[in-house]
Structures are given as structure tokens and as C-alpha cells.
Amino acid sequence: MNRRELLRAAIGSGTGLALIGLHRACLAGANLDAAPGQELLDDELRRVLAAIAECIIPETDTPGAIAAGVPQFAELILTDWYTPEERQPVLDGMRALDDACVNDYGRGFAACTAAEQVSELTRVQDGEMFKVLKSLVVNGYFTSEPGATSQHGYDPMPGVYKEVVLDAATGRWS
């Protein structure tokens, strides 16, 4: 998804989303254009964002989202790039997810077990919050140095354009 598609998706999601719950009403009324020293996410939401990011791109034989600095990048884009209207459903969605975990498991999303996190994210994966965060996380990961350079075939200076045959087993070229 490119920047403009992202924007469209974000704008499309912002309309018609009912704001319910006290803290959401507060958020809606607050000036969310974070001024210097004022931060968009509190510690709890920051933990939720990091946990969601790592669930989307976990550490394997290559770095995961947290090791690639993705949560910080996602927060930067939510803060500086998204308008308050565009990011509201994302903030609401993260808070709702966290509240649901407290209800169901007695602890916030970040403190849940891996199985619980997968279950919760599966439940919300068609919602706007998850879609926006997934695109932010994927973009943030593959445009980060750890994310980009751990991919086979990363080569900013190829010196040639040519077709190659991939290894059938790995899908990679030798």
C-alpha cells in the first residue's frame, strides 16, 4: 500500500466511526497535534503498539518489528503525518483492544500470552485499527535498515538489470 492509498484508507475509516466511551470523548476533544514535550501515546498504548507490531512481524531468523525500531516509527507517523481525525480510530482501536484484554484475561494486551495476543488480533484483524497499523508496521519494517538489509536480494547498487532463475525450494536466487 503506498502513501496515497494509506491516506485514502485512513480518511475513509475516519468517517462514520462512532466515538463511544468516556476516554474516547476526551481524546476527541483534546488537541492531539502533539506539541513539543507532549506525546501522543501514553506508556500503556506504547506497550500495546509495540506488542501489535511484534505480533505482525515477529523475530525469526531475521529481526522482528521491535528490533527494527518499528514501534517508534509508527508512533512518529501517527503523531506527525496523520491528522487527528485520521488517527482517532487507531487510538480508539488500540485502547479498545487493551480494554478487552483486561476484561477477558485480567491484563493488558502487551502482558497477554502469545496465544492470547494472536486470538485477540485475529478477532480485530478486519477492523480499521489493525489495517492501519499493519500497513504502518510493514512499511516501517521494510524501510528500516534491519528490515531491508535482512531481506535476501537487498542490493541498492546492482550494476545490472537481468532475469534470474530462483531456487525452487527457497524462492531465492543464488
Binding site: 506527525d80 510493514v138 528500516s144 545490472v160 537481468k162 524462492g171 531465492r172
Partner: protein, 560 residues
Amino acid sequence: MSTEFDAIVIGSGISGGWAAKELSEKGLKTLVLERGHHVEHIRDYQGEHQPPWHYRYRDYGDRKLHETDYPIQSKFGWFNDHNRQFWNNDRLNPYVQAEGKPFNWVRADALGGRSILWGRQCYRWSDLDFEANKRDGHGIDWPIRYKDIEPWYSYVEKYAGISGQAEGLPQLPDGEFLKPMPMNSVEKHVKAAIEENYPGRMMTIGRVAVLTEPHNGRAPCHYCGPCHYGCSTASYFCSLTTTLPAAKATGNVTIRPDSVVERLETDPKSGRVTGVDVIDANTKERHRFSGRIVFLCASAIGSTQILMNSKSEQHPNGLANGSGALGRYLMDHTFATGVGGVMPGFLDRNTIGQRPNGIYIPRFRNLDGQDEDANFLRGYGFQGAARREGWNRDVPGFGKDFKDAVSKPGPWVMYMSGFGEILPYADNQVTLDKKKVDRFGIPLVHVNVEYKDNEKKMIDDIMARGTEMLEAAGAVNVHAWPGPMIMGSGVHEMGTARMGHDPATSVLNGWNQAHEVPNLFVTDGACMTSGSCVNPSITYMAITARAAGHAAELVRAGAL
């Protein structure tokens, strides 16, 4: 600094660079005036080969800055933090769009102009194009034909370095080609399917001003991808690395950036341009330069603005505008109409390197008279490419399996975008705003243009013919889109000071010389009498070199 020259060239892009080279090589003391800032080859390519993580907002860009300072430029796909230093600042240099008729004026504001940022596709016109207006009566006849410009195409191609494949097509004449870039297997497959199923249609590799072999001291392409960040190896044609250095090598040229041309002063007695009034973009200091001849190469709209702002008692409607044609007939190419689909198979293959080029399907509509099933005049070509989708495709789910899947190349996709000829309409017009002025006190350009019926019908045909070709090649999930249909988006503005036989209906003669002002030549897109469907830059190069040769001859003979 001397203020008197043999020749003054206004603009340093594709056309201005060529004018500077040709005039200075003919021995004329030449001044090049560029309104943008200086750019030093290599030193000022800050974004070249930079990875995304070196930029705070990476692929997203600085949205707030884009909205305040680059609302037009940032809509264009190639604008980003890697090349922002070359683009026009829309807040500092605005223009006016007619109500309900958006126009995208995609502009550079730097030495080298849009030759730094251009798409590099190079296709010769043919007599199908030069005779188009005469044949169907839309617009006036061109004063030149293919045979007049053919040697000049060869001349500029040999110098610039164009890679491509000779095909022997009458509607798309072959040029002086360096070896072609390769097609990948999927493109070859689509090519074969199109040529088998649709006689009269064919696909060739793009003809592109990117070197595939060493050429005139410049290195071949290293396939890093985004040429428009600037190229340290000078592997694509750009004024900064080709024509301007050649001009400087003569010792006859002075290049003056930050020089905003306000107006041209004409002498009522001789009828000639006698002064070029310049405002320094930084200090706002005013200067007047004079030359025996003036080459206006400031881009179609930029040159038109200067001519309109140069009105005088003898030229009450703008300089060289006795015909009233100045500012009218603005053309572009229909842009961003496209078709795409997934090409099944070929999953054991991928490509290495970023090929700065694609495929080309030359015009196949209305070639021999009007096609029976065509409800529109003239035609279009397709540019496109096949590639494997990357990490930014839609892959469902999350977690380890998702990461593994998205890290591997996706399916092959083939995209094709139609570039259609837009007719010259008198009411697609550029004027000077009656009230608003810019930071230099120069009236703003007011643009009042739109796609009309013929363009909309052509876009329908582009989508239908594109879809049938991809489907014939076995593509699935084929989808077509009309695009935003906003003039200017093709960045091929043409026609606002057109050439013609008759001073009553045109601004320039067959040598790009103003009918009414003998020492004034306009050789950028403004001069175009019709638009063709192929990219215009190589034609600007050829037409500029031709006009410069003629002008230098007139100077030598004492006629100017």
C-alpha cells in the same frame, strides 16, 4: 559581469541546454538565464543512493511541508525527500487554476530544469503527427514535416545517447540507438500474445535516454533505479551532465542561476528584442541583459508567461501575439489511464536491478485514416512493465507465516498506462491573472484547461484495448482505471506559442522564429502545433538544435 551577449537563452532544461550548447559551439557569446537555484553535478544529488531510513519520514514524506509548500508537486509520483531540492515550491511560486478545472503544473526550480526529473522516454514523431492537424482539421498545419527534422533527430540522439530497438514502424521512426535494455520473460510473453492476437499491434522495449554502453565519456547505467535523484555517473541525459558542460567547454557561455526573467524589452523601430529584464531571485536586484538573439526555453507555460508580460504599445496583447494564439491551444498527454493484471506463472523467475525503463506499445489506432470502430480522433501508445510484487502488496494475516510470505517476491503483475493525444483547443488557455502577482511583482499565470469529449472517448478505448490485450496474454484480475483526467498530469505541456505558416494564426514560423520579432526564438513545448501521443522531449531537442543552427547562420550572415 558583462550585460551584452550574442545570444541569451532563457531556461536551462531540455531545450535551453541544447540552445546553449549549439549557440556557444557556433561561436556566439551566450548567456543562460535560469530562474532556479544552482545545482552542482554530484555535489547536489543529496538523495542519490540514500536508503529510506536516512529520511525521518521515509516513504511517507513530510506531509505537513508537502501541504504547505508542495501541494502540486507532491502529488506527482516522483516527488520525494530524495529529490525535493529540484522541484518548484508551490507556496513561493504559485499559479491560479480556473474554478472547477484543476491543472497540475509540475515544475522544477533548479539549474537543469525538468531535464533532471524527466521520464527519459524518447520517441520520434512521424508524418502521422506532423500532418495530423491538416488531415482532420483540428488545429492549423505544421510548417514542417518529418524530413525537415529527421537529420536533427539523428544529431541529438547521437549526442544524448538513446537506447532502444529498431522496429521499422512508419508511425514510430527508428532512431540512432544504443543497444536496447532487455525485456523480462513476462513482458516477452505479453508481447508474443499481443502480436499473435492483434495484428497491427506490437510491443517494443522503451526507447530511453539512459546509456546501456559507454557514450561520449559518460558511463552506462548501474540500474540503481530512481534516475531523478540525480545521477553521479551521468548515465541519463540531463542538461547538467551533457549539454551545459558542452556549452561551458566552448568558453563562450555564462550561466546565471537565480535569474527570474520578468519581461523582454522590444525596440519599436527595429521590432527586435533589445533587452531581457531579470530579477535576482535572492536579492530582488534588477538587471538588464541584451543579446542579438533570444532563445526562449522556459517551458511552455513559463515562456508564454514571459511573452504575455512583455506587452508594449506595438504588442498590446503580449509580445509576438498579433495572432491572438499566444496562450491558447495548451495540450498535454492523457495520463494515468491504465490497466493492470496478475500474470500467472513464471514464479521461478525474478529480476535483479532496477531498470529505469519499461515497454512501449506504439500507436495502433487510426493509423490509415479513421478506424471504423473508433469514435475518437488520433491515438495513443502504452507504456508499462511487468515485475514481481514486493512487500507492499496485500498479504493476509500476521505473524511468522505472514512475515515469510511478504518477504518473498509476490506474483508477477503487468501494468500498462495509455498516453493519448490531446487536441489543440482554443479555449484550453493560459492567461495572466488580472490581479494576483508573485513575490517579484510578476502577474501569476492563470490556467483554464480541461479534457474534452475526444480525450474522454479515447480514455475509454485505452481501457478497453488494454484490457483485451492483457486478457489475451492470460492475465487474471485485470482491472482498468480512467485516471483523474487532470491536464498537466502528463507533464507534457505544449502549444501555447505554436508554429505555423500564417502569422494570423500562429506565433512562430517554421524555424521557431517569432513572426513579428525576428530575433526571438521559442523552442520549448510552447512551439508545438499538435501534440502527438509520444513523449515530446526528443522532439524539443531536435527542434531546438535545428532552430539554433538556423539562428546562428542568420547572425553570421548579418541578418540578425
